[in-house]
Each structure stands twice: as structure tokens, then as C-alpha cells.
């Protein structure tokens, strides 16, 4: 694991690095260098398996983080590449030519996070949603509960408890009586 991280630092001057386990690490990469790094990792360092691409929304720092998870079947190590995108108009270089399944991941990310991947085939097609008009649902500022209550005719009678208080009441009813 350390070997590949050293190589990455030498070649691309990448900082910072977060090492999780002996066989898993996450590194943060500049947006435009990513296809280069991915191609190098895939073709020369045996990180041949792309496990997934996903995104994490950080509205407090106005960024969306993309995570590309690679796996090396010889050393059995995971390498997560993180890319931070601007949150207002997120746009990323498409890597659909590297792996066949990438186009679908990018289609999903476009739909769920509103990230644009220019040039990715079939990007504008629906993945899971159909006729979605609201803001992309996986953004943090989209409130699914509010949307559901507004749209889907909730059946009246649902009660919501604060779990902490409710469990205290349920488990120790005597404590309440004492008060």
C-alpha cells in the first residue's frame, strides 16, 4: 500500500492522504488530473477493477466530493480517489472510455446529484427517476420528508417521537411518575 502511495506522491505530488486500514487508502486529486491518474493506475499499477463512483455532498464548504474506488486484484488493496467539485455548477471529466460500466454511473450521478459529465453517452437519459422536476434528490438541501408529505397524501395519524425521550419513557416509566 505504502509503495503505491509513495509513487503517487512522486509522480503527481498528491496530498493529503488518508490511510484507513493496511489495505485501504484515500487520496485527494485535482479535478483535471484524474483521467491521467486513473489510466496510469489501471494500465501500469494493476488497479484494474473500478468498484464504484459516487458522490458526497458538502453544502457547508460548497463542494461536492466524487469518490472513485479502485481495487488491485494482485495486492488486494483499495485505493479511493477523491475529487472536489464546485457545488453550484458541478462538472467533471467523463471517463467512460476506461471502463464500460462508467457511463451508467455517470448517468446516475447526473440524475441524483446534478453533476455534468460532458461527452458521456446517454447522459441525459433517466436512470431511476422519471420526470423528476425538483432539485436532484441526493443533494443535502433536498428534504425528502417534506417532499413526501407534500406529494404523496400521507395517511393521517403518524406520530413522531424523539427517540431518546420516548425510549426513556418506555423503559423507565417509574422515573416519570416520580417527577
Amino acid at each position: 500500500m505504502q509503495e503505491i502511495l509513495n509513487k503517487l506522491i512522486d509522480r503527481y505530488a498528491i496530498e493529503p492522504i488518508q490511510e484507513n486500514r493496511h489495505n485501504q487508502a484515500f487520496v485527494t486529486i485535482e479535478k483535471n488530473r484524474l483521467p491521467d491518474v486513473l489510466t496510469w493506475l489501471r494500465d501500469y499499477e494493476d488497479y484494474t477493477h473500478l468498484a464504484f463512483i459516487t458522490a458526497v455532498d458538502y453544502p457547508e464548504i460548497e463542494k461536492i466530493q466524487l469518490t472513485y474506488m479502485l481495487h488491485n486484484y494482485i495486492l488486494h488493496t483499495d485505493l479511493g480517489l477523491r475529487v472536489l467539485l464546485d457545488r453550484t455548477r458541478p462538472e467533471m471529466v467523463s471517463i467512460h472510455h476506461l471502463w464500460k460500466q462508467v457511463a451508467t454511473y455517470q448517468r446516475e450521478l447526473r440524475e441524483m446529484f446534478g453533476i455534468d459529465f460532458p461527452g458521456s453517452p446517454g447522459l441525459q437519459e433517466n436512470f431511476a427517476l422519471e420526470g423528476w422536476k425538483d432539485i436532484p434528490p441526493m443533494r443535502r438541501d433536498f428534504d425528502t420528508k417534506e417532499y413526501s408529505e407534500k406529494t404523496y397524501f400521507p395517511r393521517p395519524g403518524r406520530q413522531t417521537h424523539d427517540p431518546k425521550e420516548y425510549m426513556k419513557e418506555k423503559l423507565y416509566p417509574s422515573a416519570k411518575e416520580d417527577k
Binding site: 431511476a128 427517476l129 422519471e130 420526470g131 423528476w132 422536476k133 425538483d134 434528490p137 433536498f142 425528502t144 420528508k145 417532499y147 413526501s148 408529505e149 406529494t151 404523496y152 397524501f153 400521507p154 395517511r155 395519524g157 403518524r158
Partner: protein, 209 residues
């Protein structure tokens, strides 16, 4: 939901393009009157003893329909059988949660089924959303979109619960209490408005074809 007089105005079929519109049916669903008392009773007996389930697993509830077909529970004993096409099926088992995308297909399948037809809501998700009550993509109450005859609660309902549900449905059919198709026809506008509220791209005819 008030039982208004059926109006016989044509359906607009607004979701279709200009050139497709003449190809599709624009008649409203009609409610049916029962035949003579004893004839209807006999036919209801036959209907109750030969329930054909539409083979559409809309959600995770479909997984308990498989054991129901096999040796352990053997639903064929009660005259229940799966049927692959909606034209021939009579019972629609909504297997749990329903996403908006599925709901659109479910409405089509339901409208393609020929009456008398019955709907079973399987699992808590069809009653009030269940586990997914706050999800942005699953409906909360099935009875706002389709007339439901019977609900089976649980997540998952056990096959025994399903059998009990089917037996209850049979009793209701024999007693002539299942009026789902007529209810759908009577309150057609209300159901359509609810359906169109959540199915955003309505690119299909309003009823059947």
C-alpha cells in the same frame, strides 16, 4: 369521494401526441350492473374459486409469492394461479412499496385487466408508506391511486397471512362486496387527478386503449 353520476364525456388523452390520439380509446370506464341474483351468485362462486394472479412482482412482496406457489404453501389448492398477462389475470397483488415509476406501469396493467378485478395491497408500505414513509420516490397510500379490496399488513407478511388474505377476498367475492372496478369507474376523475399529480410525464392514454 362522492358517487356522482357517470358522465360520458370523451377522455382528452392529453399525454399523447396529435397523430397518436385517434389510435387510442377515448371511452371512459363503465360501471357494471350485476346479472340476476342467482346467476350472479353462481358466477361469484366461480370467480372466488378461480383467482388468477397477475405475475407482476412490483416490490419485495413478490418474494413471498414464490414460496406460496411451491410445496410448502401450495396456493393452487385454492384455485389461485399465476398468470403472465394482465388480460387474463383477475387479481393484482401489489407487492409492497411502489415507486412512482412502477406506479405508472401498475396503472397501465390495472387498466388492461378485464373486470371483475381485485386489488390486494400487500405489506405495510401500501397502507401508509411503511418503512419508506418519508421517501421521495415511493407512494404512501395505495387507495388514492387504485381501488384496493384488501390489505395484508406486515413487512413482510408471511405466506400464511397471504393465504388468510386470499381467503378473506374469496369470502368478499362470494358475498358480492368487491366493487373495486365500479368504484374506479365512478370516481375515475378523482383517481386520474391523483395519479397525474405524481406521475409527471404522462405520455400514455388516459384509460386502456
Amino acid at each position: 369521494m362522492d358517487n356522482k353520476e357517470i358522465n360520458n364525456t370523451k377522455l382528452a388523452n392529453e399525454g399523447l401526441s396529435e397523430q397518436d390520439r385517434p389510435l387510442f380509446c377515448d371511452a371512459r370506464p363503465q360501471s357494471y350492473k350485476p346479472l340476476g341474483k342467482y346467476v350472479e351468485k353462481f358466477l361469484n362462486w366461480a370467480r372466488a374459486n378461480s383467482l388468477w394472479i397477475l405475475g407482476y412482482g412490483t416490490g419485495c412482496g413478490a418474494i413471498e409469492l414464490r414460496p406460496l406457489m411451491t410445496a410448502r404453501f401450495d396456493m393452487f389448492r385454492w384455485g389461485l394461479a399465476p398468470r403472465p398477462t394482465p388480460r387474463q389475470a383477475g387479481v393484482f397483488v401489489i407487492g409492497g412499496y411502489m415507486s412512482v415509476k412502477t406506479l405508472k406501469r401498475v396503472i397501465r396493467s390495472y387498466e388492461q385487466m378485464q373486470g371483475p378485478k381485485f386489488v390486494i395491497g400487500l405489506g405495510s408500505c401500501t397502507i401508509n408508506g411503511g418503512m419508506y414513509w418519508d421517501s421521495y420516490n415511493t407512494i404512501n397510500r395505495l387507495d388514492h391511486y387504485l381501488p384496493v379490496d384488501i390489505y395484508i399488513t406486515g413487512c413482510m407478511p408471511r405466506p400464511e397471512a397471504l393465504i388468510a388474505g386470499f381467503n378473506k377476498l374469496k369470502e368478499m367475492i362470494k358475498a358480492g362486496e368487491t366493487d373495486g372496478q365500479n368504484e374506479y369507474a365512478r370516481n375515475f376523475d378523482w383517481y386520474k387527478a391523483n395519479q397525474k399529480k405524481i406521475v409527471k410525464d404522462w405520455n400514455m392514454p388516459d384509460y386502456n386503449w
